[in-house]
Symmetry: C2
Subunit: 416 residues, 2 copies
């Protein structure tokens, strides 16, 4: 029944050997060809998307999900702009670095190489089909895609478009494969293909990601929760602090790098808290405070111990008054999710201490946690954000889709 998964896993593995040695010029030509077909096939893509949307409306998909599923002229234009951006990115493959000359007379270096094959498991957004494929292809990786059932018709035609471009460039069409079986057992089967897949990157809900992490024999690079903190130090510029907290909480509360917790130094709590609380509450944010916070501001609910570990993804923020920087760091390392945390401070020493001691994928001095993002961090593009410590941590760009090998030049040396 799940032969499809096995056959397509073998297909990407076989194709990956060709991509491994593909020149940058050829990979860029491939991306440009994909864009040509995205343009010429736009009517067909929109028609396929219409079928998915009709099904989704009948099954009563939520408005948010329908919006994620929807393609239109503008969104296809954005997709094409994304592809053009990736064409411009430097190719990490083939880069040689870390030259060492040990006493044995060898010259030992590292060379950056593709990972080989990447599995992407994602949900409703069909743009991931193109975005993720293009990043994998540019970094020399073949890719096995498994998208959500809601977007099946859209995804299939987008993969067809990519395969047309692969054919034109005389590259194996197996460089990009798409699993058409839509039940979860097909995902389960994909998680067993460690002979053919080098890594799986899940994109979607925490529920999907946890399921994949727990069941995969293939290594997974996963994006965990974002229980992000902002700590306002006693020396902070309180106007800046207010802007940063307001931005990090309200600019897009549903995303992983939105702030969920506010820690305030006790010396400035009575000056800072009433101001930021009023502004947040005016924007509809619910404030949950510890005892000291409640003694300073009105209309706040008491915080629960379980709040400190929660990722709300909503207009809610929990607030705690802390004694000092050490207390703030300790709280963040204990209760945080090690995603993104920020300090607002006027003290260079305190800023550096925070950056060093907070154990998170991204740590900020005097900036909003909302900046944790591949584009904002100058990576050019993003295949996802890792909250793991192995291989990749934080926003992942092309380099994170590569591995290395040791290359060694000798003059006939043998081991003694």
């Amino acid at each position: 029944m799940y032969e499809e998964v096995l056959i397509k896993s073998q297909s990407v593995k076989k194709a990956s050997g060709v991509l491994y040695n593909c020149t940058t010029a050829k990979k860029n030509s491939l991306l440009k060809a994909i864009n040509l077909y995205l343009r010429s096939e736009t009517p067909a893509i929109l028609a396929a998307n219409r079928i998915d949307l009709d099904c989704a409306e009948k099954t009563g998909l939520s408005k948010v999900m329908l919006d994620r599923l929807t393609l239109n002229e503008k969104r296809i234009q954005q997709m094409m702009q994304g592809v053009r951006d990736v064409v411009k990115l430097a190719d990490p493959v083939g880069k040689v670095f870390n030259k060492v000359k040990p006493p044995n007379g060898l010259i030992v270096e590292k060379m950056r190489v593709p990972l080989g094959t990447v599995g992407i498991i994602y949900e409703a957004r069909p743009n991931v089909t193109v975005d993720a494929s293009v990043l994998c292809l540019k970094s020399g990786n073949a890719v096995l895609l498994r998208g959500g059932s809601e977007a099946i018709h859209t995804n299939k035609i987008l993969v067809d478009v990519i395969k047309m471009a692969l054919k034109d460039l005389k590259l194996p069409v197996g460089c990009v494969e798409f699993i058409e079986t839509t039940d979860r057992a097909a995902v389960m089967e994909m998680l067993k293909q460690n002979r053919y897949l080098d890594v799986i990157i899940p994109r979607g809900s925490q529920q999907l990601i946890s399921f994949i992490q727990e069941n995969s024999v293939v290594p997974v690079i996963a994006h965990g929760e974002g229980n992000c903190h902002i700590y306002i130090d006693s020396s902070a510029d309180l106007l800046k602090a207010e802007e940063i907290v307001f931005n990090a909480k309200t600019q897009r509360p549903s995303v992983c790098n939105a702030a969920e917790k506010l820690l305030v130094h006790e010396k400035i709590a009575t000056r800072f808290l009433p101001r930021i609380a009023a502004r947040l509450q005016l924007a509809g944010v619910e404030i949950r405070g510890d005892e000291r916070t409640l003694s300073i501001i009105r209309n706040a609910k008491p915080v629960d111990e379980s709040d400190w570990k929660k990722e709300y993804l909503d207009l809610i923020i929990a607030v705690k008054v802390v004694k000092n920087l050490n207390d703030a760091i300790e709280h963040i390392n204990q209760y945080g999710s090690h995603h993104s945390d920020a300090i607002v401070t006027g003290s260079k020493a305190n800023g550096e201490k925070f950056l060093r001691e907070v154990d998170s994928a991204a740590v900020f001095v005097n900036a909003s946690t909302r900046f944790t993002d591949g584009y904002e961090f100058g990576l050019g593009a993003e295949i996802g954000i890792s909250t793991q410590k192995l291989h990749a941590r934080g926003p992942m760009g092309l380099t994170e889709l590569t591995s290395t090998k040791f290359i060694v030049h000798g003059k006939g040396q043998v081991r003694k």
Copy 2:
């Protein structure tokens, strides 16, 4: 029953927070203190080792295993030299690199940080207890050890020695914990501790490593088989080629970086093969050849298709005559284990092509595959060799025991 595993996993996790911010000076003082106790406790260590050896002799452990288990004055001296070598190594933790200034005005950099907690699962050699602990501690990681039952008394006293040093330095003794339960179910329990362990590094037989890879929820960095190739190009200096093949096959045939396969360009096969075959056979090496090889040399057995994928770890080599460099690369990528492969050539272009196109952890031009090793590659020390593509590939030193985080300096920036 396996509460020990849970409690000790929690203990290393807790201790790792202290090690995360430990200065290089303090970590070096710790290593020096370990060495002082290794010296002062040598009689007690040897007495404990005597108990293990007595048990092992009674249960009829093989000579090779007994040798691996044995400590003596000289081996403890070597252990101490190993610790001194690690003291001298540069501390990777805290290093800041990859500075980027994206258009948003932020300064984005990466900082190297400890992984956190490392699980080491190993077999008879008690020196791993000290070697692995010291590498983990120097890179700021707490470590949970699980050694073989044969070495239990030796391992326990070595861990006591490390804990004495931790106490002296006022560091948590939980920085190094040792699982005393010796059955395999305790290993199974350790593989579930993904809440507390960041990575598991198995050291030992392929059987042990496969078991761990298949069953671990904790990410594993594993060392697979070494089916290593040497390809002799038509332009090779045949004297050098002979030395390299002889060294890679015979110098230590039981290890992963020993050569198992010899590929020879057809143009030089009749000149090269009789010479190397005679020398190898004189050293007791069994030669298994393809048809063309058998037509050139005597006393060779015919090779079986299954031979091409085998890691012999013995005085056996399989030989194939190939048409050209492309055939050699294709054969290696198809049948090899992606560990270590070498070309002997007089052509710079062919050497570079081989380095680029062979997809292995270490690729060599004009040198023996036996050099795949942390010390020989200038890493200073080695916690193991990875044949994976994620996180670390090839010999792993201190840097491979670290992760990174993004550190971001702003001036009050918020996301638009």
